[in-house]
Symmetry: C2
Subunit: 390 residues, 2 copies
């Protein structure tokens, strides 16, 4: 399946939760499959921290350009683009195509930088709703997202209940815990205190706060994986000297176990160190630091129960959609318990909810990986939605 990025310009101001507004912005998006005559088969896919509108398919002539959820979405896949019209949209503030901190602020003629307005999950959903308006889609067959994307899916059912028939919320939570916020805060401090950050206006200095981005990504990676999968993948294996960064010898390789330590505090000794440094380096080459701050803050702020004194049942009362929730047993970033809180609040409201807790070793990352039971559950659910359309 060939994907083609598209762009929609929005001249009118969008009022944001913070009280600020943004105008003359562009959203990057992609669509797969065809909208049916009734305009009833549209599925919106919301993305998490390090993803974009490029959800599925490949770009013409570009090897390894699969979308980030290509195992989930496409012809004959769990979200079948032969039956659904799937829309991937890049959020405001991102660095992958939609208007973000690296673009010009029409109010000043200067690059936004740190002046890009703080955006929330609710703001993203508002911007997505405007995009659907322009595409002529009144009601979604489903809104679908994992992690931060799941928060957007949940927020859709609260902000626009009548526009969502089904919501699929994967590996998500009704809000972040103190520990989640803490990890985000450390990552942000690493970026903001990097001398190359220049208060967020590093573009005009011709530098990038790569040190901070690397640290942020390393912290992120640790929290995306489970302790178990890290032990299985890396354990205490040493890194053979002849390998390049990012390469790993298989655990159990004698060369990784029998050699002596190098006794250094700065050289790479263990394979896990090599992996993390490689991931950090790669990330700092393409991800924007201001975007990192904005997206982690949107995560921190999301908390629909907040305006209801912490009562999630009350907060979810407006939702009328049918729900599928999925969580993964070893996900300690967004643990199954957090998904169960959403399930309970929906059931308290007598909503229709399907919940699957998948026994998977991969931690939070599991929501992006191939797992037959996980893909099977989502596939069966979308099969049900497709039958409602017929």
């Amino acid at each position: 399946m060939i994907a083609v990025p598209q762009f929609m310009h929005f001249p009118d101001a969008l009022a944001l939760q913070s009280g600020a507004s943004i105008r003359d912005y562009t959203l990057a998006y992609e669509t797969y499959g065809s909208l049916n005559a009734e305009r009833s088969n549209a599925v919106l896919v919301c993305h998490a921290l390090n993803a974009s509108h490029h959800v599925a398919g490949v770009y013409e002539g570009q090897d390894k350009s699969e979308g980030w959820w290509d195992n989930m979405i496409g012809p004959g896949k769990p979200v079948d683009t032969d039956r659904f019209f799937v829309i991937g949209v890049n959020n405001l503030g991102s660095c992958f195509g939609s208007t973000g901190p690296m673009h010009e602020n029409p109010e000043t003629g200067q690059v936004y930088g740190a002046d890009f307005p703080v955006v929330t999950v609710e703001d993203w959903v508002g911007a997505q709703a405007r995009l659907l308006d322009r595409l002529g889609i009144v009601q979604l067959a489903a809104v679908l997202g994992g992690s931060l994307g799941g928060m957007q899916a949940l927020s859709w059912t609260l902000q626009y209940p009548e526009r969502v028939r089904h919501a699929v919320v994967v590996a998500s939570a009704p809000n972040l815990t103190a520990e989640n916020i803490a990890f985000n805060e450390v990552a942000r401090r690493a970026i903001v205190t990097d001398p190359d950050f220049h208060g967020g206006h590093y573009y005009r200095h011709g530098v990038i706060p790569k040190r901070g981005l690397r640290i942020a990504r390393m912290i992120g990676h640790i929290t995306y994986l489970s302790d178990d999968v890290m032990n299985e993948k890396f354990g205490r294996s040493l890194r053979p000297r002849e390998l390049l960064a990012g390469q790993a010898a298989p655990p159990g390789d004698p060369a990784t176990l029998l050699r002596d330590y190098h006794y250094s505090t700065q050289d790479i000794e263990f394979q896990i160190e090599s992996y993390l440094r490689y991931q950090g380096d790669k990330f700092s080459d393409y991800f924007d630091a201001n975007t990192y701050l904005l997206i982690t803050r949107a995560l921190d702020y999301f908390d629909p129960a907040r305006r209801h004194g912490g009562d999630l049942t009350q907060a979810l009362a407006p939702a009328t959609a049918h729900f599928l929730l999925v969580s993964f047993s070893t996900d300690w970033r967004f643990s199954p318990q957090r998904s169960r809180e959403i399930v309970k609040a929906l059931l308290d409201n007598r909503r229709s909810v399907t919940y699957a807790e998948i026994d998977a070793p991969h931690g939070h990352d599991a929501f992006l990986l191939d797992d037959a039971r996980y893909l099977g559950v989502v596939g069966a659910y979308f099969d049900r939605i497709a039958k409602e359309l017929a």
Copy 2:
């Protein structure tokens, strides 16, 4: 109880595991209580990352100068200094009194900086044994430590089996997991990539890599606490604007719940952020960056089973001491499962082992806190040791 730091100079070279050696070094130590005529009532206390020889008591005329384990050690306390002669010793490479990276290298006449040799748990134990030689103590009634200190206690029983009658290993592990190493590595990268680090020779530049130290400490703090205790202590409470850094309003205070967000990616919004920044700032004012690298590396390297193909039972076979192991239910840095691995390996060797798993909400930090059951278990064990002396 008044504590008095003492210093012992060691002119002769100590051979280190790395193959390097160190000479003309000094160890800072303190002693509490009196050595009996048989010299049989000595207890050595080993410290973890952020601690020192100042284990118990206070310094004359100094308010709030309690030793780091003052709730455990002192007259009438679980480790009763009316019955035991307790020795606290600061490890080589520390920044609290013993020779470390900020001192002069006698080989070069320059400050060590990054040239301070990499030291291991085994090296520290070797240096501690030399100190005991000089103090005329042939055999310890007990060696005692928590976390990294517990690793030293365990190593004592392997390096000098005949010199240890009892080993008390609290909240420790037979080695670090990949996740543990990963957190250490991120902290080290934050320090090493701080432009003020200058390859570890920041002393001669008159600067301190405080940015890196702050990040390192923030990461550490998250891993010392449990998710539960963070939710209980901080939750999603907002920080009232009028509070200073480090101050926290009680959770549930209306001012922390009802005000609107400030919508900022850099200002403190949540109390957990305030707490972490304060801890990071404080730490960066007194802790040495090179010491941080050395101590975390010693943690990474400790792995007595390594020379036995990963077989911990075989590795612990030389130990002849009696053991008390204690772990805490919510400690995810050194989980109860890791202590149980040690217990199992000792039992496989038919050693005498007492094991207590304390149901405590405080995560890894629990080993430093007041918990009646924990202090009771340790107290009962030392009571038994004292009776053996009589």
